[in-house]
Each structure stands twice: as structure tokens, then as C-alpha cells.
């Protein structure tokens, strides 16, 4: 049997990349991501090196490892959850190999080996490697810190492999879920703490090195189990099949009252709840609600309202940005169909606009707990809400006319794959989306004080409402101009 080696699989990956449609764009994005990755690498490097000194400085009489160990359990838990959402069997790559004379074992091995290159596996290495190097230089305790490092690495890799299991097998997903819930309950209501236990375990490994055999054994087991599991799943009606789905969102009759628009809104809501990709994006949008916590918890920021405007824009516009930036790409799978239907662009775009406006409204309501940080913060959030409600949504809709990269609705995006739909023009739209509101706040604020700033922001927003119809007409015209271009790239 001819061998299908790792080398071949890399060769395919290379071809897939270089022969992809819109290669130039993708190359540009790759380069950009490259820079971004370099930036993160540098940050983590500094975090790793500086982290050591900071920890030592803050707690001079404590070994920094003992400070890190208690948070590791939480890190691994978060790691597993994030991987669950982003990592899945690369079905499209595996399927064509099934008919070729390649042993299944080798296919599985290829999948597992390639999963090692995932971004999440890099994080512990990038952060901890410099930390460990600095540590062993400063303390001359080389072996124990490296054993500790190996222990963490093997646990992180275990999570890399086990996630395939959780992803495809309902039973193990339930087991893990129950485990998390139980751990949470124990943590909260009893004196027994899994986090402490885990920390103690890590301490033990650090102090008595032979205990490292436990995480190593765990890694070995998870490789074995996941390989065996994947091998069993390598059938079209098992791991490579689409999940059998129940129908959700069948009863959205509430929207029918909304003459004309209702049907589109209904469809968009179904689009969101029935497609993996859309759910992912909406989840991200939801996370933006917490964005304010970065800013409002710092005295330093609370004193400069202009920065808070920035935070407010993200809090109230999270969904609007994450969902809205992919209009009309959400409908890319059946765009030609829509173009032959008795739908005017205006009606279509207006329904998208209303959806975004609706989301801003919801986010503004959900942001009420921020009142805890003071009335000023609340007022800023609501003022940005008004801006996003009227103008922000409009600008986002407009920017969509220039986005012609299709979206596969029911396929998970890999981490950072969202950037595929990224373009320079989209970047440019950050200006009106982010800089404009900050500006219309900042200028009156600078000269006439806080409330003038608020009025500036609100007034600009209301102007958007006043000219909504006219602006919408301009947007429709732009979409019409871009129609053929959009269609041809959506159909690729």
C-alpha cells in the first residue's frame, strides 16, 4: 500500500491555500495575521519574562510556581470550552481520502498530528517557555521547573485530543458537562475545591518530580482514546456525517404581524439559531457586552469619558458589528435565488437594518447593570446606544455592500478564520463606525463639558434617524451597483 505521509498532507494544505479563490486577498490577510501573531508572541514573551519578575516582586518569599498553580485549573477548563467551540474533525479534508488506498490509522494519525498546530497549543508554550527559561536562569533549579512545564504541556495537549471525543460523542460531552457543573457546585457550596486539589497536584509534581508520570499517562491515554474513537468515527454516517437536527424556531408567528418585513426577520432569526457559524458569531457579539468591565473597573479610564464612549460603542453594538459586518454574506449560499425573487433590495436591506437596530436595543437594555459604575457610565452607554441604533447600524449595513466573501453557514469557523471575510475597505469603515462617534462626543465635551458631549452624540444619532430613508436609498444604490460582483464571488 502506498504511503500517504504527513508530507503529502502538508503538500495538500499548501496547494489548498495557494489555489484558493481570491488568493491575493488571502495572502494579504495571512501577512496581517502574521504580524498579529508576532505581536501576540511578543506580548506573551513579555508576559512570560516580566511575569516572573512581577510575581517575585509582589511575593518575594513565595515560589512563583505556587502562585500560578491555583489558576491553572481555571485555565484548562476555559481552554477545553474554547476548543470545544472551535475545533472539529476536518471533514472536507478527510472525506476525499476515504476512497483512496490509505489505511484509516494513517488518516487518523494525520488528523491528530495536524491538530497539534492549533493556535491553542501554542499559548502555553509561548507564555510558559520564556517564564521557565527566566526561572531556571534565576533560580538554578532547572529540572523541577521543566518537569512542571512538561506536566502543563501534556495536560494542554490532552485537552487538544479529548475535544474530538467531546465534540462527536454525546455521552462524553454530557459526562464533561456534569463534571463541570459538579465541580462548580462543590466549589461554591462546600469546602471541597477542585481548583485547590488541582493546584495541590501541580505543587506535588513540582516538588516530587516522579508525579509527572500522572499527566504524561493522562496524555498517553487521551491520545490512545481519541485515536481509537476517531478510527471508529471514520464512516460517512458517523463522525463524518452531519448531525441529525431537530427543528428549532418553527413557531415564530409573532413576527407575522410585521407586515412585509416580518418574514425576513423570521428568516434571519432562523438563520441565526439554525446555523453553527451564525451562532458562533452571535455568541461573540454577546461577549462584547462584558467589554465594559475592562474599562469601568479602572479608575484611570473612568476619568476620561472619551475612552468610555469607545467601550459603550462595543457594548451596545457587539451583535450589530459581528453580525452586521457579514451582511449580505449571510445569505451568500442562496443569494442568486434572492435576486430572482419578488424582493426589492430596499425591503431586504431594511429588514437587516431593523434586526441590527433591534439588537442594539436589546444590548442597551442588557447593559443596565453597568449603572453600578455610576450614572455617568450609564448615560454614556445609552448615548452610544442611540448612535449605534440609528447611524451605526446604517454604516454597518453600508459597509456590507463591499463585503463579497461568501460564508458557509453550517460549518464551524476555525479560530481566526473569521478574518477570511476581512478586507481593507471593511477596515476603513471602522472610521465612521468608531472614530466618528468618539469625535462627536469629544469635541463638545472638550469645550462645553460632559453633557454637551452626550448631546453631541445623541444629536448625531438622531440626525441618522431623520435621514434614515434617504441614507437607505443611497445604500440600496450601492448594493445594486455591486450586485453582479457580489453574485459572482458568492457563487464561487
Amino acid at each position: 500500500m502506498n504511503s500517504f505521509s504527513l508530507f503529502d498532507s502538508i503538500k495538500f494544505a499548501k496547494k489548498k491555500f495557494f489555489r484558493a479563490p481570491q488568493l491575493e486577498l488571502k495572502l494579504a490577510i495571512r501577512i496581517l495575521i502574521g504580524f498579529l501573531a508576532l505581536y501576540f508572541l511578543a506580548v506573551f514573551l513579555i508576559l512570560g519574562i516580566g511575569g516572573y519578575y512581577i510575581l517575585v516582586k509582589e511575593n518575594p518569599d513565595k515560589d512563583p510556581v505556587f502562585i500560578i498553580n491555583p489558576i491553572l485549573a481555571l485555565y484548562f477548563a476555559a481552554d477545553l470550552v474554547i476548543r470545544y467551540f472551535f475545533q472539529s474533525i476536518p471533514v472536507t479534508e478527510v472525506k476525499p481520502l476515504m476512497l483512496l488506498p490509505i489505511p484509516k490509522k494513517r488518516i487518523v494519525r494525520g488528523v491528530l498530528i495536524r491538530s497539534l498546530g492549533s493556535f491553542f497549543n501554542l499559548i502555553p508554550i509561548v507564555i510558559l517557555l520564556p517564564f521557565c527559561i527566566v526561572f531556571s536562569i534565576e533560580k538554578h533549579l532547572a529540572p523541577s521547573i521543566w518537569i512542571w512545564f512538561i506536566a502543563i504541556l501534556s495536560l494542554s495537549l490532552s485537552s487538544n485530543f479529548l475535544v474530538y471525543l467531546i465534540n462527536k460523542s454525546k455521552r462524553s460531552a454530557v459526562v464533561f458537562f456534569c463534571f463541570f457543573v459538579a465541580a462548580f457546585i462543590l466549589e461554591k457550596f462546600t469546602s471541597f475545591s477542585l481548583i485547590d486539589l488541582f493546584a495541590k497536584g501541580m505543587n506535588l509534581i513540582y516538588e516530587e518530580l516522579y508525579w509527572v508520570s500522572v499527566p504524561l499517562l493522562f496524555l498517553f491515554c487521551s491520545v490512545f482514546v481519541s485515536a481509537r474513537f476517531l478510527r471508529q468515527q471514520l464512516y460517512l454516517d458517523k463522525g463524518l456525517s452531519k448531525k441529525k437536527e431537530r427543528i428549532v424556531g418553527a413557531n415564530l408567528n409573532f413576527f407575522d404581524r410585521w407586515e412585509g418585513m416580518g418574514f425576513f426577520l423570521k428568516n434571519d432569526i432562523r438563520l441565526i439559531i439554525r446555523n453553527i457559524r451564525a451562532r458562533q458569531v452571535v455568541l461573540m457579539g454577546g461577549l462584547f457586552l462584558f467589554y465594559g468591565l475592562f474599562f469601568f473597573t479602572q479608575e484611570y479610564y473612568l476619568e476620561s469619558p472619551t475612552v468610555l464612549v469607545f467601550a459603550g460603542l462595543f457594548i451596545t453594538g457587539g451583535f450589530m458589528i459581528t453580525f452586521g459586518q457579514y451582511v449580505p454574506a449571510w445569505d451568500s449560499e442562496y443569494y442568486s435565488f434572492l435576486m430572482c425573487q419578488n424582493v426589492s433590495y430596499k425591503k431586504y436591506l431594511r429588514s437587516k437594518l431593523y434586526l441590527m437596530m433591534f439588537s442594539v436595543l436589546i444590548c442597551s437594555i442588557l447593559s443596565v447593570p453597568y449603572i453600578f459604575f455610576g450614572a455617568q457610565v450609564m448615560l454614556i452607554i445609552w448615548a452610544t446606544g442611540i448612535f449605534n441604533f440609528t447611524l451605526g447600524s446604517m454604516i454597518t449595513l453600508y459597509s456590507g455592500a463591499f463585503n463579497a466573501t461568501p460564508i458557509k453557514l453550517n460549518i464551524k469557523a476555525k479560530a481566526f478564520e473569521n478574518t477570511k471575510n476581512f478586507s481593507f475597505i471593511q477596515m476603513l469603515f471602522i472610521l465612521p463606525k468608531m472614530i466618528l462617534p468618539v469625535l462627536v462626543f469629544f469635541l463638545p465635551y472638550k469645550f462645553f463639558g460632559f453633557y454637551a458631549g452626550l448631546i453631541g452624540l445623541t444629536f448625531t444619532g438622531l440626525l441618522g434617524l431623520l435621514f434614515q430613508n434617504r441614507l437607505l436609498n443611497i445604500i440600496v444604490k450601492t448594493y445594486l451597483q455591486k450586485k453582479y460582483q457580489t453574485l459572482s464571488s458568492f457563487n464561487k
Binding site: K242, K244, E245, R246, I247, A250, F263, N267, R270, L271, R274, N275, E333, Y334, Y335, S336, F337, M339, C340, Q341, N342, V343, S344, L409, N410, Y484, L487, S488, N491
Partner: protein, 231 residues
Amino acid sequence: MIKINDLSKKYAGQTVLQIPELLIPKGQRFGLVGNNGAGKTTLFSLILDLIESSSGSITINGIDVQKSEAWKPLTAAFIDESYLIGYLTVEEYYYFLGNLRGVTKSEIDQWVQDFEPFFNGEILNQKKYLRDFSKGNQKKAGIVGTLIGKPELVVLDEPFANLDPTTQIRLKKLIREEAEKYGTTFLISSHDLTHVTEVCDRIVLLEKGMTIKDIKTTPETLKELEFYFSN
């Protein structure tokens, strides 16, 4: 119904379609045949204003498709699965179409019953999304979807491909009946000469973007076409 004038489509200087004139009267069942790359789908895409022509014009009922969208209420098309909304159930998809063409939910529920024999019990009440249907069943659902609201013009690209023999026969009957009952104009492309000669009353043969033959269907048409393609 459809009037084509001096139509051409070029890609990078290469002409893929060139039709000086073509008239399709109302109620005609118009068949389009030709080998791969002959320009069938290009022609349909131009008629539906999905691609821009390099020159010339197409009008549907006097409406220039590139200048106005007023042809959309009279037209329905099914080209491929991308004309389905994958995350809807068949019923939801039909209600959506009905909504766009002014047919109420209850009217659709009533109307769709007539297609039960065509569906062969595999389409309605399936409790699954369109994307999870087989190719053939997706096609059945899509074709019937075009008939919602009795459009004046129905464009079908390769409607017979992927269908089982029973459904092919029923589809031919369906098209003839619709055309007779409501005077619907059908544009049908096909690689299957037998089917297309049986169902269409006029056949145009495209090759390399040009109309080579324009035949009114007679019992001899099939032989004529077979002769052409075998040489």
C-alpha cells in the same frame, strides 16, 4: 414574453454567448439543448439578471431586466440547490415564497396537496431542513417551489437530472399541465434529448454560444437532434 436583442457575453475578450435575436412567445415550452459549455446556464443567468451582459438587451414582458426589477413578480426559477434556503424546512421555504408572491399560508397548505403524488411522500412533513434532503428531493422541492403563485415565466435548469424515472415522468406531465392550465411559459435546459423533446414545443440548440438550430418539435425532432449530437 421574452425578447432578446443582440445579446452577447464575453469573458476576458472571449465570447461565450452571442444571440442576435430570439423571441419566446407567451405560453411556449422552450427547450434549450447543447453540450457542456455551450452557454445554456449563461443564457439563463442573463435572463434572470444574475450576470451582466456585454452588449444587447433582454426584456421580459417589455421590461428590460437590467434596468428594472419589475420582471421579478412574474418570474420564478430553479437553477440548482443554491436556490433553496438550506436551513428552512420545505414548508417554511414555501411559506416564504408564498409571502413574496402574495399567497397565504393556508392557500399554500391547500395547494401543495396537489403535488403529493409528485413528492412521493418524501418531501412534506419531514421534520428536517432542506440542506439535509438528498439532491433529488431538494430538486423536487425546488421545482415545485417555482410554481407557487402561478408565475408567468418559469426557468428550470436541468430539471430532469438527479431525478428518479418515476419523478421524471411525473415532472413532464406536471410541466405540460401547468402550461395548459395557466399559460405558463417554461424555459427548460436539458442534456436528456428524449425528455426535452417530449415536453417542449420548441427546441433551440446552442453550441459555443450560438444558436445552431431552432426547431418546432415534431415526432422527427429527437432523431434530428440525436443525429446532430452523434456527429
